[in-house]
């Protein structure tokens, strides 16, 4: 049952991400490398959910699927952290810019 949910969710999210990525690429809001990266990553995720036995080659009975999932979670947390830091930095720069314009344009 869980496998079916995983299949459905991965297909659903992959379709969303790939469609959005393709649209961004067409509108030149995203570079080729970034588009290829996201499409490949999501295709890989979908592939894993449909053919989970592929992981057996990486995760031996000793390491287990749990270990692989644990590594995935750590990676996801790392990505979230990086995204937070980047968004925070962009936001701060953005505020600084708006403030500088406000202070410069006082006589407008």
């Amino acid at each position: 049952m869980l496998l079916y949910i995983a299949k459905f969710l991965s297909t659903f999210f992959a379709t969303l991400v790939v469609a959005k990525s393709y649209l961004n690429y067409k509108q030149k809001r995203e570079g080729t490398a970034v588009t290829v990266f996201w499409v490949a990553t999501w295709l890989f995720i979908v592939y894993i959910t449909y053919f989970p036995w592929v992981l057996d080659k990486v995760a031996t009975p000793r390491t287990g699927l749990g270990t692989v999932l644990g590594i995935c979670f750590v990676f996801i947390f790392f990505v979230c952290y990086r995204i937070y830091i980047k968004v925070d930095r962009v936001e701060k720069n953005f505020h600084r810019l708006v403030r500088e314009i406000a202070l410069k344009d006082k006589n407008k």
Binding site: K92, H95, V98, R99, A102, L103
Partner: protein, 247 residues
């Protein structure tokens, strides 16, 4: 014939240096009140040689900026809405750049009585405190503040205590006086929304500046949504934890 000004005479006779004052008003879509608020600000104050009004128009979509300028204020405009904290910081930075001796912040919605500015100046002259906060809760015998706001205030007071070891009686009041020292500390804060108010107290207390609280009246305006809700409170708490963890 020139009139005799007792206050001015007192200041001259005491040989005290007159100071400049910036009144900073952060405003977002306040066209109904901004003109009246600016017009009701005192034109003369004891010991103050120059009073300038700085309105930070935080990307208002109404005529806030136009009316503020018409009322004689210097208007700094954020091209987009950044939030209450960001507006305060812009105003404080302006006061710091123009080297004002004292800076007072008050809200644009008319909930503060501008006639009470003199109380801040008097308190400053008496105690030389770097940061004087107006409190709606201290000596509020009539208990005019709604219970939800009292609870919110206690919550944010607890949060400030957690990060600084001190608790202000009314952390959410926007009526405050800053000396040059306090201004330097306050203008370095990063907090775009209402978390600025909480962050401000933490920084001020941790900088070991001399602080003081004085009671102020508050005019609660009906049909006016102000203050913070619970979700916002939780959001502020998370932001503060993250900001302090990440430096």
């Amino acid at each position: 014939m020139a009139t005799f000004d007792k206050q001015q005479f007192f200041w001259h006779s005491q040989g005290m240096k007159k100071q400049s004052l910036a009144i900073v008003i952060p405003a977002y879509n306040e066209e109904k009140t901004i003109f009246e608020v600016i017009k009701s600000l005192p034109k003369n104050l004891p010991g103050i040689s120059r009073i300038d009004v700085v309105v930070v128009d935080d990307g208002s979509r109404d005529r806030t900026g136009i009316l503020a300028r018409r009322a004689g204020a210097l208007v700094l405009r954020h091209e987009i809405n950044l939030g209450y904290g960001a507006s305060c910081i812009t105003g404080l930075k302006k006061a710091l750049l123009d080297k004002y001796d004292l800076t007072i912040t008050l809200d644009a919605d008319g909930q503060h009585d501008p006639r009470e500015i003199i109380n801040f100046i008097k308190e400053y002259e008496k105690t030389k405190s770097d940061f004087i906060a107006g409190t709606r809760l201290k000596h509020d015998r009539k208990k005019t503040m709604p219970l939800v706001r009292v609870a919110g205030n206690k919550f944010f007071g607890g949060l400030i205590y957690l990060f600084s070891g001190h608790t202000p009686s009314d952390s959410q009041s926007g009526f405050r006086l800053f000396s040059k020292k306090a201004l330097k500390v306050a203008s370095q804060i990063y907090g775009e929304g209402y978390e600025f108010t909480t962050e401000l107290y933490v920084k001020i207390y941790n900088s070991h500046l001399k602080t003081k609280e004085i009671p102020i009246k508050t005019i609660y305006i009906k049909d006016k949504k102000s203050g913070q809700n619970i979700i916002n409170g939780i959001n502020i708490m998370i932001r503060m934890f993250v900001n302090h963890l990440l430096g």
